[in-house]
């Protein structure tokens, strides 16, 4: 099996899906220009040479426009992949995605389907407030949309294939610091995990979380870059004699409720880690889930480590203060397990 970066895995998924189904097309800015970028982070590099400009379509800078074009094309039989340079610009597509794509199937009484995938690079990389957001929660809130967030190359390929074949609109989040973009696109502070990726066909189903590390004392649930930061914290916790289980949700809507409840039943402690803001984020949804269906398992109140409820600051010192770090996750976990458990009667 070959080891691939996430960029390579995503590219392979698109290449295989485009070869498999001629209705799969890519629409986006700078995705297919000769001697160009292959999208903002090189994901589509080489695909226009292979599949031609009819299928790898360079759009004007018109996000609302090409989101709408993708929706129309999808209703007429295509399977468009919509490329965004930064997830932040998905807000320019908001009406098309939320009012149109997400509702067409329902409003039409099931007459039409909108199989589009919106690929959105997320994550803070000292570029300031408009090139840094991880806007997963906005879309989790919308019935009719699915939201996935792979953190490994294997999942990136498998989930993207599932997304392309899904008959509904899917918001597909990719983390800039996990891509493994090469050359001039190298990001400071990137992790760029490489992982084994089978050549050829396989899919990863939506709605299945994965345990990245087994543990007994607390459950840490995370997505994307935060999975790695949680794993780093877990390693340090082990040195303190605390055994943390780390769950990577992979899929935010549908959400793998069972995986979370099962783990919490085992550990009795829940720490939720998200790079998105806290207010109404997926951490709130998971906390509510456990409050509704797993409260009896908890030996201490749920704890959350998220980015601050502020826009993303630019200065590197501020960005570090803003975002969850392994140190913050470690400290929160320690506090949760050590202090949290001392309040045995926390439920009053």
């Amino acid at each position: 099996m070959r080891k691939l970066t996430i960029v390579e895995a995503l590219r392979q998924a698109m290449r295989e899906e485009m070869a498999r189904d001629h209705n799969v097309i890519i629409l986006g800015e700078d995705v297919g220009i000769e001697q160009g970028f292959g999208g903002a982070f090189t994901v589509t590099l080489g695909l226009s040479e292979e599949f031609g400009h009819d299928r790898v379509i360079d759009t004007p800078i018109s996000e609302a426009g090409y989101a709408g074009v993708a929706i129309g094309a999808a209703m007429a039989g295509m399977r468009p992949i919509v490329d965004l340079q930064y997830a932040d610009f998905i807000y320019c597509m908001m009406d098309q995605i939320v009012n149109e794509a997400a509702k067409l199937c329902y409003m039409s009484g099931g007459q039409v389907k909108v199989p589009i995938v919106v690929r959105a690079p997320v994550g803070a990389t000292t570029r300031g407030a408009q090139h840094s957001q991880t806007p997963e929660a906005m879309f989790m809130h919308v019935p009719g949309l699915k939201v996935v967030a792979p953190s490994t190359a294997y999942d990136a390929k498998g989930l993207l294939k599932t997304a392309i074949r899904d008959d509904n609109p899917v918001i597909f989040l990719e983390h800039k610091l996990l891509y493994g973009s090469k050359g001039l696109r190298v990001e400071v502070g990137a992790l760029n995990p490489v992982g084994e990726v089978p050549e050829g066909d396989y899919t990863v189903p939506f709605g299945q979380a994965v345990v990245r590390r087994e543990g007994a004392d607390l459950t840490i649930v995370a997505t994307l870059l935060m999975v790695y930061r949680a794993l780093e914290a877990a390693q340090r916790l082990a040195a303190e004699g605390i055994s943390a289980e780390v769950i990577d949700l992979r899929s935010l809507r549908p959400l793998d409720e069972e995986a979370v409840l099962r783990s919490v039943a085992k550990t009795g402690h829940l720490l939720l880690v998200d790079e998105d803001h806290q207010a109404c984020g997926w951490t709130a949804e998971v906390a509510a889930l456990v409050a509704e269906k797993g409260l009896a398992h908890l030996r201490a109140p749920v704890k959350r480590v998220t980015s601050l409820d502020t826009p993303t600051p630019y200065a590197p010192t501020l960005e570090r203060a803003w975002i969850p770090t392994p140190e913050k996750i470690f400290a929160a976990a320690l506090e949760l397990v050590v202090n949290g458990s001392t309040h045995t009667d926390w439920r009053g």
């Binding site: 800015e29 700078d30 220009i33 000769e34 001697q35 160009g36 970028f37 360079d58 759009t59 004007p60 800078i61 018109s62 996000e63 609302a64 426009g65 340079q85 932040d88 610009f89 807000y91 320019c92 990389t125 000292t126 570029r127 300031g128 407030a129 408009q130 090139h131 001039l184 696109r185 400071v188 601050l308 409820d309 502020t310 826009p311 600051p313 630019y314 200065a315 590197p316 010192t317 501020l318 203060a321 803003w322």
Partner: protein, 331 residues
């Protein structure tokens, strides 16, 4: 060759020299930040306006201090031309507390409202209706101010361009739309994303004047802006100016620009706006060589000082991260 015999030509020598100095200040500022970026001293990303300085300077020299400009991800030149100090600008790029936005904005969000530079907006096209909104307020409040909206060729394909300009047109707002057509939106050539030859041709659809000007000719840009600003201030509504220009470097720090033909890049370097203007000034003999040399020394010193200022400035404390989410009153 620069515009000959135009009225601008009759500007006092001090103004002509000041325009040269501002263009040079932008050039040296950006060359310095790029160097610092390569050294690893600069976080984030950079979009340089090297080669486009005549637009920022030609336009902003036609404005009053009380007029407002909006800008984009490629904002350093507009900020400097409108009067944002290079110390505060440099400190902002370093992410320091003394930056023009306290280190919270960064390269793509620079500005200082005290000099009429609205902190720039990096979502392409976002500033166009917002600038129209500034102009609406100026009109309703009868302030006699004018708004100038800078944006690129690529931005003209956003819906906000259509919506913003149409509203400005129907309400005769005091605004000048300045499209810096550097012929590419990132790697995409304008001809791939636009059927008309000129962005200015689109003005007809809104019933406002559209003017094409050589964006590497600072005097020509100044000339047409003076007229458009007078029109705006006089209550006759917006103008769409299209300045044809070129960026010398890549789109951002990570772009080698390999999608551009070498001859094209070479041709535009022969049309370097600073070089052209300096030749014109020399031909005019109203500004002496000694004065020009002194400008170079002064600018060099300012930029070195700005780096020193930024380096020795404190980092913003973490408590600043949670401030200013909501208005805290004027400083």
């Amino acid at each position: 060759m620069l515009t000959q015999g135009a009225p601008t030509h009759r500007l006092p020598a001090t103004d002509l020299l000041a325009m040269y100095e501002t263009m040079l200040r932008i050039r040296r500022f950006e060359e310095m930040v790029y160097y610092l970026f390569l050294q690893g001293d600069m976080p984030g990303t950079l979009h340089l306006s090297t080669g486009q300085e005549a637009v920022a300077v030609g336009v902003c020299t036609s404005l009053r201090a009380t007029d407002f400009v909006t800008s984009t991800h490629r904002a350093h030149g507009h900020a400097i031309a409108k009067g944002v100090g290079v110390n505060a600008l440099m400190a902002e790029l370093f992410g320091k507390a003394t930056g023009c936005c306290q280190g919270k904005g960064g390269s793509m969000h620079v500005g200082d409202v005290r000099v009429g530079a609205v902190p720039s907006l990096a979502v392409v096209g976002a500033g166009i209706p917002i600038a129209a909104g500034l102009a609406l307020a100026f009109k309703l409040r009868k302030t006699d101010q004018v708004a100038v909206c800078f944006f690129g060729d690529g931005a003209t394909n956003e819906g906000t361009f259509h919506e913003g300009i149409n509203m400005a047109a129907i309400w005769d707002l005091p605004i000048v739309f300045v499209c810096e057509n550097n012929q590419y939106g990132a790697s995409t050539h304008v001809s791939k994303v636009m059927k008309v030859a000129n962005v200015a041709d689109r003005a007809a659809a809104y019933g406002i004047p559209g003017v094409v000007v050589d964006g590497n000719d600072v005097l020509a840009v100044h000339e047409v802006t003076v007229e458009a600003v007078a029109r705006a201030r006089g209550g006759s509504g917006p103008t769409l100016l299209e300045c044809k220009t070129y960026r010398h470097g890549g789109h951002s720090r990570s772009d080698p620009g390999s999608y551009r033909p070498e001859e094209e890049v070479a041709y535009w370097k022969t049309r370097d706006p600073i070089k052209l203007y300096r030749e014109w000034l020399a031909g005019q003999r109203r500004v002496g060589e000694a004065e020009l040399a002194a400008v170079h020394v002064r600018v060099e010193q300012q930029i070195d000082d700005a780096v020193e200022y930024a380096r020795s400035s404190p980092d913003p404390g973490p408590e600043l991260a949670i401030r200013h989410v909501y208005w805290e009153g004027s400083a």
